[in-house]
Symmetry: C2
Subunit: 398 residues, 2 copies
């Protein structure tokens, strides 16, 4: 922010927003010569462009005027019913009126901030956690308390009566977490659900990547496990990773009383999510398209992940350690303690390689600066190998 005095006053929350140093550094990743492992973009080869095109065409030809008119804040009823039915896949039995359609799950985070957070409210997050969620919640000025994680993700025992007291909710990504790529075991899911039920802490389960599992066995989600244990669970899902992110379409599954409040919030926030988009996505998926489509996407991600893990084994020193994700888009690297990820990024960019340093993913105390996040999704194999070789060399030189 500049020092010129403007003839207007921003809110406290807006004054606290600062331009991220990392974001400024990463602007260079748009240059074509950069090998960027920094992105969070899904692979565009996985977008079913023709199928989506046909679906938009059919909806506009058959129901154009409805598709272009205002719609209900709750969302398009057939899509809500589809989502409710689909949640059986993750072991949850929910009704269509427990589903609210939103404009991407980032919007769900904003709405949950509005619903639950007063200035100073305690919010429990994994350490590290999804940066976009931290940014979204931060507009409502919470106090973050980090629940520790280890190689198995969030540690339920780290959630104590003391750390949980007065917390408005705990935010968790159980599958192939962003940024770590870690997956919460079945045992930990049950332990977390029971603990949250006992401590009366609502669980916000964010599961953007769950359908992108390419190794290991699918596990039931926190929604079903938590409900069975008597916990309040709000689940966020998205079509960004199973269809395409440019559509901006996601959903919230929650108890009716919470959905009712979120509907009022959604109406004040943007009235409703685009009718045409909802109808076209429903048209795309209603006949079971995702069942045919997702294996191709999973194979693609598995292959890309394999290239990177293979190159890391070859080029990274034994002093570095990293996660081996069973799905999703990210690998998390822990370097020797004397190496700062942000400083490493500056040197990597001189060599035309980019990634995201780990520190911004930590809220509250205990950030580990010797970490970094690598995305393997959109980079071709030869560039993955070349970029990882350069990173390995830089780490060894550090």
């Amino acid at each position: 922010m500049d020092s010129y005095t403007h003839p207007y006053t921003f809110s406290q929350r807006a004054q606290q927003l600062t331009s991220s140093t990392i974001r400024e550094i990463l602007k260079v990743t748009e240059r074509p010569e950069i090998i960027s492992f920094a992105g969070g973009l899904p692979a565009p080869q996985g977008f079913p462009v023709d199928v989506i095109n046909e679906a938009f065409g059919r909806v506009l030809a058959q129901n154009g005027r409805s598709a272009l008119q205002y719609g209900p804040t709750e969302g398009y009823a057939p899509l809500r019913a589809w989502v409710a039915e689909d949640l059986k896949r993750v072991g949850a039995d929910v009704s269509p009126d427990e589903i609210l359609i939103v404009s991407g799950s980032q919007q769900a985070l904003d709405m949950l901030g509005k619903l639950f957070i007063d200035p100073g409210s305690k919010v429990l997050v994994e350490a590290p956690s999804y940066l976009g969620a931290l940014q979204s919640f931060s507009l409502f000025e919470p106090t973050y308390v980090a629940v520790p994680t280890d190689g198995g993700g969030l540690i339920p025992e780290g959630l104590t009566a003391d750390s949980a007291a007065g917390a408005r909710f705990i935010y968790a990504l159980p599958n192939f977490q962003n940024p770590t790529g870690l997956t919460l075991s079945l045992e930990r899911r049950h332990a977390l659900a029971e603990r949250c039920a006992a401590l009366q802490i609502p669980i916000v389960e964010d599961d953007p990547y769950g359908e992108l599992r390419y190794a290991g066995e699918a596990l039931p989600g926190l929604l079903g496990i938590g409900r069975a244990a008597g916990a309040t669970v709000v689940r966020l899902g998205t079509f960004s990773k199973v269809l395409a992110p440019g559509l901006r379409l996601g959903y919230i599954a929650a108890p009716r009383h919470i959905i009712a409040k979120l509907v009022q919030i959604k109406q004040a926030t943007d009235l409703h999510t685009a009718t045409l988009t909802q109808m076209a996505v429903y048209e795309t998926i209603k006949g079971g398209f995702l069942t045919q489509h997702l294996p191709m996407v999973r194979d693609l991600y598995k292959q890309q992940c394999g290239y990177m893990l293979d190159a890391m084994a070859q080029h990274f020193p034994a002093t570095a350690s990293w996660t081996r994700p069973e799905g999703g888009m990210f690998i998390w690297v822990t370097l020797p303690e004397h190496i700062d990820g942000t400083k490493l990024l500056a040197r990597a960019i001189e060599r035309n390689v980019a990634f995201v340093p780990g520190e911004p993913f930590y809220a509250g105390a205990g950030a580990k600066a010797n970490t970094l996040r690598l995305s393997f999704v959109t980079v071709p194999e030869d560039k993955i190998r070349a970029g990882i070789a350069i990173l390995g060399q830089l780490i060894k030189e550090s």
Copy 2:
């Protein structure tokens, strides 16, 4: 809200949200036998379904992967440039980087609430004003101060150093205001701009209906007039009324320093507006389509407005008065003081006629309960005449 104790705590702002009595009453308007003047829906006959369908098809066929990928938070660059160019029409000279694309102008209201409003901040609004804006701003807990209006809309002289002191902004709809249908004269626009410049109050100009003028002469907007006078102006626009609302597409025009802050807010709010929608709308309008399309929409609205004014002249008593809009969607009725609009609605619904009572459109003190808003847009001529006859009879009996 029910009295059962839930195992979670909502934020103060969420606790204050109450289900609107009026909204509950108006749920009956979905019944087919109801003649509803309550809606705020544009006429679906005005939606260029085929042209939009072709545009989506071309974008997906030619640039499908880009259209389905994440995009920049600021919006699709060619659409930003188109909006900047289009604003010459309302007398403003702005650059594309002073434009931010949003998911409908309701989202702009939410983002301006985040940008400007702390709990208790003073916000100046017209009396009456757009209900959706009041709902949106209210999530950020402002204190409203009503600037009085008369038959010419907002009275600039009503904005005094005292009433304006510390206000974060004034929110105004200069063209065919919702709910009154009134248009601010050129003289008042200049007076308002000069006063806001002198008092250092930013102007938020909301202009959803400006292109729907079917009588009188087009006037320059507050953006250009305000800038020339040295005021800070934030303008909100939308494609909802010139193309179709189900797309959820709008924009904010503002000084760069404000846009920069709003971009950070937008990123936390929903990352960005759907790429495909932005590209398809740009594809629809880039060749000048709106110039061909809008005369048909204006003619339609003019005709519908004429039917209602004609029926009102025939059936309403001389003790009622009402506005004669030069554009837009609404007529505002002032009844004799002893008639309460909400009570009249209850009786009208028994006779299968609906409208929106005026009281909820007032923020702060001075609400006039003897008012109501009528929309003439989506009701066929015979039903307009029948519904107005019934309303006239009920008013006479009151």
